[in-house]
Each structure stands twice: as structure tokens, then as C-alpha cells.
């Protein structure tokens, strides 16, 4: 793995055991994603896209093979070290935003900073900066239910970048958004990649999203395949 490789998967196998059968979510995947890449992973539902994202985030472990992220073999870390490593290096964006409904936009963005040694004032300043980057500097005191879906996702992006992580993982970030909001979100991700040197790994069904990525791959039944013509 070279110094410029952000993510390296080697022969990664992931199987889920059920009562009387097993499901192979990823079938010996080998993949390198360089730092600063805007990488798009497409594929049908159940193809293993999110599983791959979970392995990169260290919230799941491979059945076989190795996952190295930013030079760390995350499969060898214990849960506590992994949680600390993840909070410093990974920002995660969900399809369904997953904001805490009783907290304001600023408080939601501040959440990851509670695990740092920053003062309250510093945390609030960082949250303000992150929200300004996503164009919501004037919505700091708004609760999620007072925001549109697109705005909620932008708050989620601010939360993902507030700790200044190297890698942002986006799991269907436009899945619940209208066309305009989806474009806004994708533009922000593109800006973060271009202007802030963030490595972005995005999983999506959305063919439009692919146009923002520098590299796209297709996953089907746990295997990397050629991108279908329809895409």
C-alpha cells in the first residue's frame, strides 16, 4: 500500500451466518482507493455496497482478507482504539441523515467534538465553520424537524467533516432527497474533495451521482464487475 493510498482491500470476504445458511456479501474483493479520490460505488440493493463501506469505517470486520485504511490495519484494532481512530479519521453520511431530533443543527454538528479536548467555545466555532461550509451558517439553532431533507443532509455532512477527517464515507447520501437537494449535496461533496482534499467514498443507486465522482466501480452479488451500459 503506497503512502497515497487511502483505502486498500485485499481478498476481502464477508459472510453473514444465518440459522441454516450463510450469505456472502463480499466475495474476495481487492480494491485500492488513492487519497484525494472521489470514488463512487454503484450496484443493486443487496450487492454488498454498504457492507464494504462498513468494513472501511471499521464498524464491521471481514470474514477473511485485510482492510487497511490510511495505513492502519483496522481489523487488528480493539473496539476502543477503533472508535477513537474512527472519530479522528472517518466522517460518515447516511441516507436517512440520522440527526438527533432533540438537538439543534449546531449541537448535532458538535457531537463528535465532545470526544475531543476542545473547549465549548472552540467546539461551537468549529461547528459554525462546518455549517458555513455546507451553507447553513444561519441555521445553527434550528432543530432537524425545522429543516428540509436537503438541509438535514447538509447538517449531516457538516457533522461528518467537523473533526476534519481524511475520509468521508457517504451511504446513499441522495437517496431521500429531491433532485435539487441531491444536486446541492453532491456539489458540496465535490467541493470537499476538490478544495479540502477529502477522500470521498460514496455508495449510491443514483446515476447522476456518478457524474460527480472521479472514479466509479460496480458491485454485483459481492463481486466487482464491469459497469453496465445502462449506467
Amino acid at each position: 500500500m503506497s503512502a497515497s493510498t487511502a483505502v486498500s482491500l485485499k481478498g476481502v470476504l464477508k459472510e453473514y451466518q444465518r440459522a441454516d445458511y450463510s450469505v456472502r456479501a463480499l466475495d474476495h474483493i481487492t480494491l485500492d482507493i488513492p487519497s484525494g479520490q472521489f470514488f463512487c460505488l454503484m450496484g443493486p440493493s443487496g450487492s454488498g455496497k454498504s457492507t464494504l463501506l462498513h468494513l472501511v469505517a471499521g464498524i464491521d470486520r471481514p470474514t477473511d482478507g485485510t482492510v487497511e485504511v490510511l495505513g492502519s490495519a483496522i481489523g487488528e484494532m480493539d473496539d476502543r482504539s477503533l472508535a477513537r481512530w474512527r472519530s479522528q479519521n472517518i466522517g460518515y453520511i447516511f441516507q436517512s441523515f440520522n440527526l438527533v431530533p432533540v438537538m439543534t443543527a449546531a449541537e448535532n454538528v458538535e457531537l463528535p467534538l465532545l470526544l475531543t479536548h476542545l473547549s465549548k467555545k472552540e467546539r461551537r466555532e468549529r461547528a459554525r465553520s462546518a455549517l458555513e461550509i455546507v451553507g447553513l451558517g444561519d441555521r445553527m439553532g434550528h432543530r432537524p424537524q425545522q429543516l428540509s431533507g436537503g438541509q438535514e443532509q447538509r447538517v449531516a455532512i457538516a457533522r461528518a467533516i467537523v473533526t476534519d477527517p481524511s475520509i468521508i464515507l457517504a451511504d446513499e447520501p441522495t437517496g431521500e432527497l429531491d433532485a435539487q437537494s441531491a444536486t446541492d449535496v453532491l456539489t458540496i461533496l465535490e467541493t470537499l474533495n476538490a478544495n479540502h482534499a477529502k477522500t470521498i467514498i460514496m455508495v449510491t443507486h443514483d446515476p447522476r451521482a456518478r457524474q460527480y465522482a472521479k472514479e466509479s466501480r460496480y458491485l454485483d452479488k459481492g463481486k466487482m464487475t464491469e459497469m453496465p451500459e445502462i449506467q
Binding site: 440493493s45 464498524i59 440520522n98
Partner: protein, 388 residues
Amino acid sequence: MLIPITYNFRNLLVRKTTTIMTALGVALTVAVMLGVGTLVEGLRTSLVAGGDPLHLIVMRQGSTAELVSIVSKEDFDVIKFSPGIAQLDGEPMASHEVISVVQLPLRDDPTSEANVSVRGLATMGIKLRHDVELIEGRWFTPGKREMVVGQGVHGKRANTDIGEKILYGRGDWEVVGVFSAGQSAFNSEIWVDVNLAGTDLGRGGSLSSVLVRAQDSAAAAALQNLVGDDQRLGLEAERESEYYAKQMVSADPVRYLGMFVAVIMAIGSCFAAMNTMFAAVANRAPEIRILRLLGFSRTSILASFMLESVLLSLLGGLLGCVLVLPLNGLEGRIGNFMTFAESTFQFRLTLDYVVGGLIFAATMGVMGGLLPAWLAARREVLQSLGDR
């Protein structure tokens, strides 16, 4: 790092209905516990206030109460001149007294009768009770059928106003005064002249008890031993404070029943809190997942949900205290199994009981929140994620 407490407060506010219903359950439990507590505390205050540590009550050996004791005039003379007894104006501070009861109906409900203690005593007996003061009328005149009623009896029982007459012993006795004894049990008594009462009751010189005041604590202990060791007397002396403290047994049935009900209700409240917290954990699965993903430890999640459960119960505890507040200072009556008479007392809500009630509520929160919080903390980050 712990999850901010505002997160828990706001979640409680968001689930207003379940928060209020659960808090009400806890509030009622705490109210029952505190209600019993205020009764017990009121009665304790009433009985403890009646006991002076330098006072000794002398009764027949084996007697549990003055009402069933006999102390003769001869024995009284022996005790009165024993060493260590305090003097007042050259007279030993000793009082030979007779205790009996009279049945009096409630003023507002003539069908509801209760025994009221009637204490026959001399002037020295009144002087020995230094907290007692006349608040209306005058003291009885020795040799006359006159009564002075305690504040707890006056106006509540029939014929207890000044000028009214009560049938007692061999005839009618006129009420001539009202006394206050602070918060002590004497408030529930009627006082009369000892000699006339003894005669009316056919007791002659054999009355119920002797009350003496020792010069100091050492003298009280010595006097206690002296009376107990004198085989001729067949009497025993007990500190007045201890004698009245023993009468707390009268509150035991109420206390035990109240505690039993409170414990049963507490178990119910624990389940209510548990149910509420289970629902909270289920509804907030995505939040728990994101908190874990952001790096919050299982301990933080456990602490957060436990805190929320305790906050919820403390809210109920505070509400329970508020519910019981109107009881504070109210007058209550309870049958005293030792004197066979009714004692009046004031319900007392003390800071100790409030703190105890809040601790009780918090304990319910801990018991009810432990399992849901533990399950929340055990949730895996991946749990309930859809696309694999």
C-alpha cells in the same frame, strides 16, 4: 466523555405524555411513602416532645403504661425524699399522679367517641411540665371538680369549651381553662386535681405513677437504680423520654401498612419506568447507532439512558413531595395502644423525609432504567442497518 444532559432533558420533554404518566406513577408512590412518613414523624415529635431526659416516671414493676400501674402514697413518700431529686422552692420536684380515661364524642360527630386521657396531678406536676402554659381561662382549683383541657382536645371533643361540663368519676366537672403543651402528647390530655380524681375513681392513696425531676443526668441514673433495687417498693423508674419513645409502637401498624403499600407501588413504578425506557431505547435506535458510530462508548450510552431514567423518576419524586406538602401541619389523631386513649399530633414533612423520598424515587429510576440502558449500550453499531 458523557453525552450532554440536555439531550436527556429534551427527550423527556419530547415524550411529554409518557413522561408525565410515568412521573405520576412515581409521584404517587413517593407520596404514599412520605404520607406515612409525615404521620410517623408527627407522632414521634409529639411523643419525644413530652419526654424530658432529667425526668423519671416511676411505675409498678412490669407495667407498660401509667394506666395499668399502681404506686401507693407510702411509696411516693419514700421516692420523694430520695437523694438526687431536684428542689423547687424547697420542695422536692416529685408528682404523684393518677391516669384514667373518659369517653368523649367528637364535637361535630356525636356518634364518634374516643378515650381521652385524664391526668390527676398537683401543682408540682404542672410545674414539672415546663413547656406547658395556660392559654385560656385558669388552672383548676385544688379540691374542686374543675378541668383544664389540652389544646388537642379543646374544641374538637364535645363539652370541652370553658364553662361546659364533662361527666367524669362521680359527677360533672367544669372546664375552666385550656393549656398548650407545644407539640407534646400532653396536648391530648385533660388535667384535674389529683386528690379529687383519686377519690372519685376510688383509688384512695394508690395512684398511677410518680414523676420526678433529677438534679442532673448522673443523679437520674442513680435514682433509676435506687428505685429499681429497692425490693420493698416493687417499682421501677424509667426516663420519661424513653417511656414516650416506646409509645411509637402505636404508629407501627400504619407505618408497616404504608411501607407495604409503598413497596408494592414502587415495584409497579419500576416497571412503568422500565417500560418507558424500553420504548425510548426502541424509538431511538438510530440515535444510539449514530452516537456509537461517532465514538461514544457503551458506558456513555448506558450512563445517558440511566441518567434519563433517574431524571424521570426524580421528576416524579419532586411531584410526590409537592402532593404531600398540604399534609404538613395538618392535625391527625391516632389511638395509642399503651394509654388506651387518643393522641393528637401534627403531620410533619421534614427535609430528611423529602431527601429520603427523592432517593427512593431515584432508586426506582435506577431499578427501572438499568435493563433498558444496558440493552441500549449493548446495541451494535450495525444493528438494524438495512442494505448489506
